[in-house]
Subunit: 328 residues, 4 copies
């Protein structure tokens, strides 16, 4: 289940502290010029630079080992690999016996019977999103759409002009906070989306909920639309090409793009790693104990997650774009 | 894209006003006793009976044409069919030239080049959810879990003891309202869910967003979790079997069930069909016109959608349950 | 595993003696005129009419219950159903305890734990190929290629002008014989086929080996090519459009069509049902016994299987044709 | 289409002369001890060592970059990579304008519009089978079956005691020859295989026809069974566990393993690369010309292809084995 897509298919592999992480991008058309600048720009946005993001600095030197020749895609699967370098495995040694609250420690111990690579979150590490970003950059190289993301809220801070101030307090408490990110896609063709189970919302939903920490996804006006009566919620069509006066539906009707902007909002929970004492069950001592977990972590992961979500959506759209072409 | 699932696979077909709608359920284990009472009880919950639900009454007589022998599943694909009987096609004749706001009229005309069956919403009709409910009933026959759904809010009405009163007003206005439904699954095994793209949230998200009118999905505390600091959001493990003190994560860590209750909340937008004048583009007259659409519709579709969402989740869990068995 | 295909997807269901068999065809483009004459002509070729074919006569009245509107495909899944009428279930009652040699009786009893519908071969019945033929007829409606099949050999009879005479003897002995069928596709575009696992041979192989009784598949000159040296085996290209002097490769290089005729040869084993005494293990008596199985059967199933193979190949080509369009 | 499998899924990438080739193995159970000796032994069998095999010597140093921890599988996708070292790209420079007969040059130029990496056969190179062999070695680590392969015939040489002598002559002529390999699997559980399209023959057929040069596949007695009457072809069951007197069906009935040995025979055509003059179309000169292609090639690729076929079958069986477990 580490593959996604029908025509534009990605297969993701890797664990935080093994030799490498990477992705195979299958179904990319031949003859697309590879835009390394875009890949680097996108990776840079995911890098921890701002206040509230982890101190683990990975150079994220990606290697393309196949599928590109003379600067253009060949039509063969593209394999992109990033070596893991800055791995401080000692941080994780004492975590075998007491699963960290909020982490996948307990479930992975159960599911993989103790054989999982528990170092640095293993396969559950946010690090896996780096190759996903690259697959999204490739998707953007073939899509005639403009994707963007905006931070809407970080914890209780809605006035983002005061974000650094707010986060200084969070960091001082050794805490973390969640946030809401809004994604927008401009210039989308009408007709993307394949009912019943391949609707735009269905595939975007599957993709976004695969990204660590995502716990809520809504389209258009989303949950807030509960206050609107039907005649107000409905977006009235005002021109031949389907443009609507409002965009409560987020650019999607019946699971199919209607040519208006795609609007998607995502809630990411606070990162599970915090520097304060927390209760958890100690399997060796067979009782609940209070523990403090040290390490390098993100107080506000949302500050650098926007590009991950944006590029994840690009992967979905590339797949639907190719499917649409098959029926034109 | 009308199929869903890896081992427990459903393939949905049908349009609102053609001969029949139905579903093929593939991957059901052999030797499961077919519980017709459950199917009928589940279908009954989806039937329009209460105030605010459509007057189109379909008997929903389902036929099982294969995959069941002497009252037990055979291991072959189960085909269930429901004939369309109460179809008043005349209601839809005048809708060819002016797409109804909020409906899939415009996008389906574009995508299917005018060849779509536009009668009664065609393939976009909520009617398609009847066979989906049946596939969910079959899923529940093999799952040792208890699923339920609760209506949380209907339009602006949060005190549901006053729901009928509230809806009488909505109906009088010929309007519609959306709502929020909460789904709960009790008794779930830990370990369900297949990272990276087959996480519980990913597949439940894909499935739920496939259901007409769903515009938001959140797990556990969901978007409201933005107010919590990490140490408060984290659910502290308090026993050997993974039980947690709180359940902000909705029973899922790292995309894998942790043995606590699954909690999912779904926002459904107001039904697009309302009986008031609305602006839309008239393709023949080439200008925006105000139109009123008559017909039989739901003022509060959420009143009968809970069982659809519940059984849709059952389908996902059946698939993950079988996948887990393969690795035990 | 009852679904096949990436864009043109078929889902097959049914058992020989239950209410119905059928197929869901998903991914058919909208706006294709439905050619009922072709469907009926193709079904007729599969009907037992000639010497050596079973006396079970099924009218094969197919119903299209969805996906077609005003004579054209709508872009929604097409569901085609055939009711089972002429079912003489008593023939099969005594077969529970002693699996018939060559049949799937033993393996299905084992795999489905005794819950399988054993009547008339259940899901292993050749009857399932009728809906497959229809899905192939639909595929041919959208393909600009010409498909055909030829009977090459029936049992030891290579001079088919003497086939009836040969089969009279086989029938008199209450025996059955296998045969070889050659399939040809003319006018195929170059470029069909998706390496590595979606090569033309790969998908045609998967599809043809799914058809009951198929035990060998070869392309071009096939196994006989073992006598040729490389320089003789290689098909020399003689024109700009890729036409070759010989066609030993059967129109496929590297798994991709080269624009020359597709040539596929299929071996079908003799039907397992024969009217002579055969040894088999009797599970109740716990010893090997000699048994004679009565019933209506085909002495030379190959006489009517050609259209099944031909249309099965059409399904594969429709899928690859749509995939190719996505990349043009 | 570079992925194969439902639960045990492999994704293959790479081109002959790029940085690396590799495979992602997804769905491997956690806790399997990695048997490096088996991998090396299997890779060694694929290496050119004997008379009639190419002089391109690749060390085939494989790296496992993820999915293995402390010597055991973690349950995460396993990524195995082999760097391309011994690449003499100059051999291929003059092949742009005249497609080599029998090769994929013409079809890949057409399909990938000139952007394919044409060096060394690119993605069509037999080199891609090295990672496939490794994925098969992993499959064998989890399967309780014994797989083997036997060379049956090489060109016209059926008495393999005289094979070296025969091949000396072929090499002297700068020619190549095809061959037949027989695969056997001992100890297979009954019940593997998922009708209708996931039958053992279907999936083995798809997999084997994906391997370069394979042009024919047959099971059990195969095409030769045409001489047998039904009662002779049928394998009579002689014991409670399904053992049969003969094994004409190759251990498979109705697409499902019956507990007897699996018998599969594969025809591989002569390698396309030969050192003699051959006619082909010269796209620049716009006429047919006689050309001689130099390079390092296999006179008898079948001499080292057996392990590729054997391990490819292991991949299929691992997938079916896990699927069977889900239903036990």
């Amino acid at each position: 289940m580490n593959s996604f897509g029908t025509l534009y298919r990605v297969t993701l592999y890797g664990e935080s502290h093994q030799k490498a992480i990477g992705i195979v991008i299958d179904g990319m058309p031949a003859g697309i010029k590879v835009d390394h600048e875009l890949i680097e720009k996108d990776l840079m946005k995911r890098k921890p630079r701002e206040l509230g993001t982890t101190k683990r600095i990975e150079p994220d030197m990606y290697q393309i080992t196949s599928g590109v020749f003379n600067g253009y895609t060949t039509g063969s699967p593209i394999h992109v690999m990033i070596e893991n370098l800055d791995t401080q495995s000692k941080d994780y040694e004492n975590l075998i016996h007491h699963p960290r609250p909020g982490h996948a420690d307990f479930v992975s111990q159960h599911k993989y019977k103790g054989f999982q690579d528990y170092r640095g979150g293993g396969r559950f590490s946010g690090r896996l999103t780096a190759p996903l970003v690259i697959a999204g950059s490739f998707a953007k190289m073939m899509l005639p759409y403009t994707l963007s993301h905006d931070l809407i809220q970080v914890g209780e801070c809605k006035d983002l002009s005061k974000l650094d101030e707010y986060l200084e307090d969070i960091i001082a408490k050794k805490e973390s906070v969640g946030g809401i990110i809004e994604l927008k896609v401009i210039g989308v063709d009408p007709g993307l989306g394949e009912p019943f189970f391949g609707k735009v919302e269905s595939l975007v939903g599957q993709m976004l909920f695969s990204i660590p920490a995502v716990k809520g996804v809504e389209f258009g006006i989303g949950f807030k639309g509960i206050d609107l009566l039907g005649s107000k919620f409905n977006d009235c069509i005002i021109s031949e090409d389907g443009k609507t006066k409002t965009n409560h539906s987020g650019g999607i009707n019946g699971g199919i793009t209607n040519g208006n902007d795609l609007i998607i909002r995502v809630f990411m929970k606070p990162a599970s790693s915090v520097g304060v004492n927390q209760d958890t069950y100690h399997f060796k001592h067979q009782k609940v104990e209070s523990l403090k977990i040290e390490g390098r972590h993100d107080a506000a992961i949302v500050r650098r997650a926007g590009i991950v979500l944006e590029n994840a959506v690009a992967i979905v759209l590339a797949d639907l774009f190719l499917q649409q072409k098959a029926y034109q």
